[in-house]
Amino acid sequence: MTESSLREPTFLILTALAAGAQHGYGVMTDVAEISGGRVRLRPGSLYAALNRLVMEGLVEFDREEIVDGRLRRYYRLTPSGGQRLAVEVDRLSRTTAVARQRLKLLSDPA
């Protein structure tokens, strides 16, 4: 499981939480912002993903707050979650580096 690459929503959620603990709605808006509005998670998808990440030990509960009579639960990355994201970022940057290099060969064949 840890060997395979991350799905994009998962990657974006981990990225959102890398900056610090956030509650569900915060993660939703942050994911939309990070992806330039391309990925809009709905609550059902977000919580299914969070549930899996908590089960895999990549994310954990941080704290709870009551705002306007409504419960807000904050989530944060675990150390292994941070590690997992770092591995993924390395993998992606290696891939994009190769892609960029080859594109340069294509446009500049000399």
Binding site: Y25, R42, S45, R52
Partner: protein
């Protein structure tokens, strides 16, 4: 005065908004009920808060996309709960339970699109015929084209003889009882159809008798439950009409279709819920 008026209209707006929010919240809670109980105990309030915050302004019930998202989310969480460190047959069980949830969901619209047909059974007790052939002759008359054609003309909304034929069934029971049963979407319709056929049959029989010159004819009006009608050769001793009821075969058919539909959709959605874990990350 002006201020007071404005204030009261603002109050009304606020009350309307509260009412909408309340309805919306109930709608979300109904969808959240699809999640496993243990998950709901921990996350229901939290998810509700997010749903209410993310909900488009002015809505008083969950949108289709939101509902679909929550249904798929519930299925994924159910699969995750069962997959959490337990071997494969549990995964299959998860899909079945997911299918059951969906079967229920699919059954509701299906049942409202195609509700079980209502059946009205009218029993006619025939006077002792000399031979069983007489009873069979009556059965043949009751289901004959002329009888049904006349009945079809009296039914509103208009119905073709063929379609009436497919909804009406005449059978013989022991004790010289002939039953005429009619199926329709509503109890009232099935009652009307059955009564039309019974009336048409009685008219037919009585007019035949009249031509034979022995008739006392009293059947030129709809029969009522328990009413006794005397018609010569064969005499119809009584007409009794049961209350309309859903035919058991149709109830089974509808719920069976619902279950089948649920199993198919369940398998599809279950597959969707499982696939994303393997889909590779795409970067753009």
């Amino acid at each position: 005065m002006d201020d007071r008026l404005r204030a009261s209209s603002a109050d009304r707006d606020r009350a309307a908004a509260l009412l909408r929010a309340n309805r919306l919240e109930r709608g979300y809670r109904r969808l959240l009920a699809l999640y496993p109980a243990r998950y709901r105990r921990v996350h229901e309030e939290e998810m509700l808060a997010v749903l209410m915050t993310a909900a488009p302004e002015g809505h008083d019930r969950p949108g289709l996309a939101e509902a679909a998202d929550l249904i798929i989310g519930a299925l994924r969480v159910r699969c995750q709960a069962l997959r959490g460190g337990v071997p494969g047959w549990r995964g299959a069980l998860a899909l079945i339970s997911a299918g059951a949830v969906l079967g229920l969901l699919a059954g509701i619209p299906l049942a409202s699109i195609n509700p079980p047909l209502q059946t009205t059974v009218v029993s006619l007790r025939l006077a002792a015929p000399d031979s069983p052939a007489t009873a069979h002759a009556q059965q043949a008359i009751a289901s004959s084209y002329p009888v049904l054609a006349r009945a079809a003309r009296t039914i509103r909304p208009v119905m073709s003889v063929q379609s009436l034929q497919s909804h009406v069934h005449v059978s013989l029971l022991p004790g010289r009882v002939m039953t005429i049963s009619a199926q329709a979407r509503t109890g009232l319709e099935s009652q009307g159809d059955a009564d039309a056929v019974v009336t048409s049959y009685l008219l037919y029989v009585s007019s035949t008798n009249a031509r034979g010159g022995t008739g006392e004819i009293h059947a030129a009006r709809p029969m009522r439950v328990g009413e006794t009608v005397r018609v010569h050769a064969p005499e119809v001793l009584s007409v009794s009409s049961g209350a309309p009821h859903p035919g058991s075969a149709d109830t089974l058919e509808t719920s069976g279709l619902g279950a089948l539909c649920g199993a198919m959709i369940g398998a599809g959605i279950g597959a969707i819920a499982l696939i994303p874990r393997r889909r590779r990350l795409r970067t753009t």
